[in-house]
């Protein structure tokens, strides 16, 4: 017997939101705690240290700035992919053609999001490689320990986001033909996760690189 999760497309009468949306927000709340704990560790380590280097002395600010722009752009393409599913082209088009056009736009924006995510990871790998070439490892000092922990954990989140988005670009997109409303809800949930990853980087960038 199949287990049925109710109210995944239509809002729950009590909460006013779909269960899938409430679920992803509860997950993101737990992610706030995960990164919050590490930010707290960073503050404690820095304030408790007798000498803490400035991030801009040790890290590559131009590369990190480039990565910030890449991630911000990916957030726009992600939200545009979701908006494409709800967009309506000129009225003259028959509904089926309209839907196909919307879906093609969705795929274009989603592919752009994935490519931008991969670009972020490639740039990050160059940065890591440079650090390793200069024998800077997590064990080198406390600064590098927290730097690699925070950026590494964030990088893993980007990778997971790329995998989820790739699923919705290829095999997962079959749901769109069967249940467009549910598919749109899934893309919204994937988008919320992706924007959260962007949001974390917005704080990591100044804290690690600019201060």
């Amino acid at each position: 017997m199949d287990a049925v999760i109710r109210f995944i497309s239509k809002p729950h009468p009590v909460t006013g939101v779909t269960n899938s949306k409430l679920g992803i927000w509860c997950f993101l709340a737990s992610e706030v705690m995960l990164f919050g704990g590490l930010f707290s560790a960073y503050v404690l380590l820095r304030t408790g240290s007798l000498g803490w280097p400035h991030g801009w002395e040790l890290l590559n600010v131009p590369l990190a700035t480039l990565n910030t722009m890449v991630l911000i752009t990916s957030s726009v393409t992600m939200v545009m992919s979701w908006a494409s599913l709800a967009e309506i082209p000129p009225k003259a088009d028959p509904p089926r053609i309209v839907a196909e056009k919307n879906f093609a736009k969705y795929r274009l924006f989603m592919a752009a999001t994935i490519l931008l995510g991969l670009t972020f990871l490639v740039v990050k790998s160059f940065e890591y490689a440079h650090k390793f070439e200069n024998h800077h490892f997590p064990s080198t000092n406390t600064f590098y320990a927290i730097y690699f922990t925070l950026t590494g954990l964030h990088g893993i989140h980007v990778l997971i986001g790329i995998l989820v988005n790739s699923y919705f670009l290829f095999p997962g997109s079959a749901l769109w033909r069967k249940d467009p409303e549910q598919f749109s809800g899934r893309i919204e949930a994937a988008g919320l996760y992706w924007h959260f990853v962007d949001l974390v980087w917005i704080f990591l960038f100044p804290v690690l690189y600019l201060l």
Binding site: V17, W25, V32, T68
Partner: protein, 105 residues
Amino acid sequence: MNSSHEEVVKSQVKTYIAVFVALAVMTAVTVFVSYMRLPLLFAVIAALAIATFKGSLVAGFFMHLTTEKKVIFGVLLLAVILFLSLLFLPVFTSLQHSNFVEHVA
């Protein structure tokens, strides 16, 4: 779906583009401010203020918190309270034994 819905979607897309431009400009500003080499206290305040503004734009518009239901805010409020406790309780505890004030100043 009707023409009013179409207008709403078009307006949303314009908002997303405007938010993107604002985020790009604020990124440039935060990097520019960092090159001014301000005293640490002012640098921290400036960097976190800009990051909070950028984060609010992402959460408000890309994550649609400006139009979200109360139950979502309830979940987030709980997370924020716990996060701030996690952040400040150890800091306040360690303040009595650390040179935090001398460092920041």
